[in-house]
Symmetry: C2
Subunit: 182 residues, 2 copies
DNA sequence: GGCAACCTTCACGTTCGCGTCAAGGTTAAG
DNA sequence: CTTAACCTTGACGCGAACGTGAAGGTTGCC
């Protein structure tokens, strides 16, 4: 059942294979757990650069970067693995193919690069949307704070609170064309 | 089809209660489900303003705002309900008590307001931290993009890419351990 | 007072994102 | 060759965050 990948006849192209790490080292390096890394692989988010003779997972620097990105998307940005899968698409396959395409025609190289840039642009757009939502919430909370501070000022000035029982933002009832109300 | 939902149920008990909504209306208004709203209540994130004779949950405008905030924290900001509970603390109890404290001494009013402002400040700080993480990721991706574009430029200029096998970001200093926020 | 549409409280089922054994094979060191 | 430390693939478990009935009470309109 062993499934030899690549075998002894390595690509022989790259002169200096920097170093391939085993899963535990990768885990230590990325702050993830081996379990998570395997799970991400099962979810199709990445594939190890290689497997050893005995089918140990072996990761290269590219994998490390990818895993850090995934970890960030998970923990910092709060995306689900499904969403991350969407964002990464088949970048994993391409990324690996791209290395081979490097030996290919310049046209292929150019295509691969522009594709990669497009993908990153889409990732950036998704991240920016997320940040905008966050900014909206922050603005909302800030408005709430301002309102409270106004009430406090009124109170300090001995004014009557006027029975406005609302701590909050003025209802954005859709009446006219404003921005994209969600 | 079922025309109408709750008619103008004016109990006329208190003086001009703005309007109390039942759970399904609230759900429609906030984009949440009744189940989620009840779950949030079970998790201590909020309590309905009142209950009807037959123990129907009845929500006021303040509850609506709170639920929208919770929804935003969940869906937009990606916080867990536990984290949201931390951020909201006992604001729910206070918020409701505050209305009663309004009839209390001015000192109590001032204290309640400054407390509320402090809580919002902490919420803002938490949200800002989250946004900073996101910004960092965005900067990271942008750097990656810039690097790819450089490679593309090299290629267009007929230069050899020098076989740099990395798609990515200049390695950040690796050393710090990962913080575990869950 | 009848009835449909809503609500209530259980209670079980589900998906996600892993943690955690279990039962072996693999690697590097000695 | 032995051995400890790592790895492999299952498979089961778990907490979070709900979905989905089931069985019955409430509201409100006619």
């Amino acid at each position: 059942m062993g499934h030899d990948a690549a075998g002894p006849a390595a690509p022989a192209a790259t002169v200096s294979e920097p170093r391939l790490l085993r899963i535990q080292e990768v885990a230590a390096e990325t702050g993830l757990t081996p379990r998570s890394i395997r799970y991400y692989e099962a979810m199709g988010l990445l594939a190890p650069a290689a497997r050893s003779e005995g089918s140990y997972r072996l990761y290269d620097a590219d994998d490390l970067e990818r895993l850090r990105f995934i970890g960030g998307l998970r923990n910092d940005a709060g995306f689900s693995l499904a969403e991350i899968g969407q964002m990464l698409e088949d970048e994993q396959a391409r990324s690996r193919n791209r290395v081979q395409f490097r030996a290919g025609s310049p046209a292929a190289q150019r295509a691969a690069l522009t594709d990669a840039i497009d993908r990153i642009d889409r990732q950036l757009a998704t991240l920016a949307r997320k940040r905008d939502r966050l900014d909206a919430m922050i603005a909302d909370a800030a408005a709430r704070r301002g309102h409270l501070r106004d009430h406090l000022a009124d109170l300090e000035a001995g004014r009557s609170p006027d029975h406005a029982p609302h701590t909050g933002v003025p209802r954005p009832i859709r009446k006219a064309s404003q921005e994209t109300a969600r």
